[in-house]
């Protein structure tokens, strides 16, 4: 390689810097007013074009122009796009020593787009000479190199200059191609994290998460097979979490983990070796694989029928979390290639890091959510023994002739009841949130549910937990004895939990001695459940947020709630196609209203009194 190009290559950190270094050096070496370097590329429509990569100091305005030349297919240069395009299309040099010569000899393709910009709209006066050379890599043109206006000469660049340039063009082409490859590599590396993160953030349960991971990795690395292995909490076994492209009978694969001090031969297979040694491994042939001291062929009989004919290549990386091994990511049989390339292996490493991040985040989120939920149940329960203890003290004091403080006794009893109600409601809400309709194929059996009986049952359950003299009542409207709807068992439970939640809210925000009224109405096309209280109502500030997840209004003297109750109620009712709404006046009370469509098959001709 020419020294000037080696120097430029060694200094450049990017293709732009490389181009700049080349044109500056060449404009100096060849005494040219202008030196430009053009690079071939393919646009989004698949057309081959030339774009200016670098221009020497005398033509900085040229760089600001987004001028491109299209490279057409005709090797004779017919319909070439400009003289620069002509050079790339024909792979022929161009040498002219005047503007007139340029326009005359290349009139079929000269467009003048660059000339007007470069020569300050006076090309006829300022332009003196041009030598343009195709940059060839084998038989492929990768760019164009141009020198313009030889200083101190009106006859252009002499043959000696042209010979020197010819000797350099192969080097310049190689250097450009090298940077092209790096750019493609970087582009592919940059695309993958975004695609990977998109796949990993899709809302799904943990078993599906691993499945999505292996499918995404197999797709991005063009692998026939991808598997994710996880080390058990005791660190003793490495098990297959999920695999893509795996025969189903191999899905119970496990490897025993070993102490790092053991010899390679004692490790239970190559996958285990990757986990024990915390190092990647790749094999580009069956022979490579079998030659590894840890290879045991444990699962190869099933995977490859122990013949190795179908095996081509493998790459496995450890999944490390702060130096601790948590698993292994493995890809096998690169589609379209004999082995996984260096880029593939780099991508696999990036994906492994992202997988560790997502698995860890998921674990932490679940842990902190569970800790918070546990606290919401434990905190009210903890109030019970402490208030019981104070209650016992008051009673004992009174029994021993001391003052009977009824206000204190009532207060402790109310606290206990409120705490138990709160713990009960929180645990029901958690069940309601966690429970989703799960069907094991086919349509679940639906049953007839009487709304009046359902409401009566809920009110009866809550009665022992009422406090502060608050009352719960159920007012039947006309003909409610036949208020039947059709629900499967899971939906029945969820509706029950939702109603409990609304009742609990009404109780929570009621004042001392208040009443919570439940009304069931039967209308021609629907049933209507109303739950009304005379409590504090909802403030204007809170009103916009009442259906928001994690929004919790704190009722006076009442334990903290989950903030998910009304969200859960809405989800349940929306899922069943039932409308629900809340109306409230601050200081006067709140009304919850649910409208339930009547089910035709249950409308068997009975009138409102229940008679046919």
């Amino acid at each position: 390689m020419r020294p000037e190009i080696i120097e430029a290559l060694s200094e450049a950190k990017s293709v732009d810097e490389l181009g700049k270094a080349i044109v500056e050096k060449c404009s100096h070496v060849f005494n040219a007013d202008v030196c430009t370097l053009w690079r071939c590329y393919q646009d989004d429509d698949g057309k081959r074009k030339l774009r200016l990569l670098a221009a020497s100091a005398k033509a900085p305005q040229t760089l600001a122009q987004e001028i491109t030349y299209e490279i057409h297919a005709d090797p004779d240069g017919q319909n070439a796009d400009g003289v620069t395009g002509f050079v790339a299309q024909t792979k022929r040099e161009v040498h002219v020593s005047s503007f007139e010569e340029l326009k005359e000899r290349y009139k079929s393709c000269w467009k003048g787009r660059m000339d007007r910009t470069q020569w300050e709209a006076e090309p006829a006066r300022l332009f003196r000479s041009l030598s343009a050379f195709p940059l060839m890599l084998g038989r492929q043109v990768v760019g164009v190199f141009k020198l313009e206006n030889k200083r101190g000469s009106d006859s252009g660049f002499p043959e000696s200059d042209r010979d020197r340039v010819r000797m350099m063009t192969a080097d310049i082409a190689s250097a450009l191609h090298f940077h092209n490859l790096l750019d493609q590599h970087s582009e592919r590396l940059m695309q993958v994290p975004t695609q990977m993160v998109e796949a990993l953030l899709r809302p799904f349960e943990s078993t599906q998460l691993v499945n999505e991971i292996v499918k995404t990795v197999a797709d991005r690395l063009h692998a026939e097979i991808c598997s994710l292995w996880i080390v058990d909490p005791g660190g003793k076994e490495l098990s297959l979490a999920d695999g893509y492209g795996f025969p189903t009978e191999t899905r119970r694969q496990t490897y025993q983990m070993s102490d790092p001090a053991v010899q390679d031969e004692e490790i239970d297979g190559i996958t285990a070796w990757v986990a024990v040694r915390k190092e990647p491994f790749w094999a580009n042939s069956w022979a490579d694989l079998k030659a590894h001291p840890s290879w045991s062929g444990k699962w190869d009989q099933t995977m490859w029928h122990d013949r190795g004919e179908n095996f081509r290549c493998l790459y496995a990386v450890p999944l490390l979390r702060q130096h601790a091994i948590i698993g292994v990511l493995k890809v096998e049989n690169r589609i379209g290639e004999a082995f996984f390339t260096a880029t593939d292996r780099a991508l696999c490493g990036i994906m492994a890091s992202l997988i560790v991040l997502v698995l860890e985040l998921g674990h932490q989120v679940r842990t902190s959510i569970i800790a918070d939920m546990a606290h919401l149940v434990r905190s009210p329960i903890g109030q019970v023994p402490m208030n019981l203890s104070m209650l016992e003290k008051e009673i004992k004091k009174a029994q021993q002739g001391g003052e009977l403080r009824l206000d204190r006794i009532e207060s402790y009893v109310n606290i206990i009841r409120r705490a138990l109600l709160s713990a009960d409601m929180t645990s029901r809400e958690l069940v309601g949130i966690a429970k989703r309709p799960a069907y094991l194929g086919g349509t679940p059996e639906r049953d007839c549910v009487n709304l009046y009986e359902l409401l009566t049952e809920r009110i009866k359950e809550l009665q022992p937990l009422l406090y502060n003299g608050i009352r719960l009542s159920l007012s039947p409207s006309n003909g409610v004895e036949n208020c039947d709807i059709s629900l499967d068992a899971t939906d029945r439970t969820r509706v029950q939990i939702a109603i409990d939640n609304v009742l609990h809210n009404a109780i929570k925000y009621s004042s001392r001695g208040g009443e919570v009224r439940v009304v069931l109405e039967k209308r021609p096309d629907q049933f209507c459940i109303l739950i009304q209280d005379d409590g504090c109502g909802i403030s204007e500030d809170d009103w916009p947020r009442i259906w928001e997840q994690n929004f919790s209004r704190r009722a006076a003297d009442h334990p903290q709630g989950t903030g998910m109750g009304l969200t859960m109620v809405k989800q349940v009712f929306d899922g069943l196609g039932w409308d629900c709404e809340i109306s409230s006046t601050e200081g006067s009370g709140t009304e919850f209203r649910a409208q339930i469509p009547r089910t035709e098959e249950l409308d068997d001709g009975r009138d409102d009194t229940g008679r046919r």
Partner: protein, 129 residues
């Protein structure tokens, strides 16, 4: 003059029985429901009993004590933290308090009421009400 106990808990169901117990035992009590209440009233009390989760979704109880100490009003006796959680869960924040020279005791809810009363009496050196 009776010593004053700061009882800081956002849950009325804990705050009331604890305050009642100390009042019955002859102490003065100041009740606090929030971090701001603690910061405002801590200096007026001889012993601080502080719920760690103030309000219920944060560790603002420890933060409140840290803020008071930072403002130059260090407690005269070890702080008594009360919580449903164990002290291990708040180790990092407690370490910071220890580094500031603040001593503390930790009572996991629910606890025996008498234990808390006796602990406070012990801190006050037996001269308490």
């Amino acid at each position: 003059m009776a010593e004053t106990i700061l009882v800081a808990d956002d849950e009325h169901g804990y705050r009331q029985p604890i305050a009642d117990m100390f009042q019955d035992a002859g102490f003065e009590t100041i009740e606090a429901e929030s971090k701001e209440d603690v910061v405002e009233n801590a200096a007026l009390a001889d012993v601080w009993i502080v719920d760690v989760r103030l309000p219920s979704h944060a560790r603002e109880g420890i933060e409140a004590v840290t803020q008071v100490v930072d403002a130059g009003k260090a407690p005269t006796h070890p702080v008594i933290f009360i919580s449903v959680d164990s002290a291990v869960d708040a180790d990092d924040q407690l370490g910071a308090l220890r580094a500031m020279g603040v001593d503390y005791k930790w009572y996991e809810k629910p606890f025996e009421m008498e234990l808390l009363l006796n602990a406070v009496r012990s801190l006050l050196g037996g001269d308490s009400a």
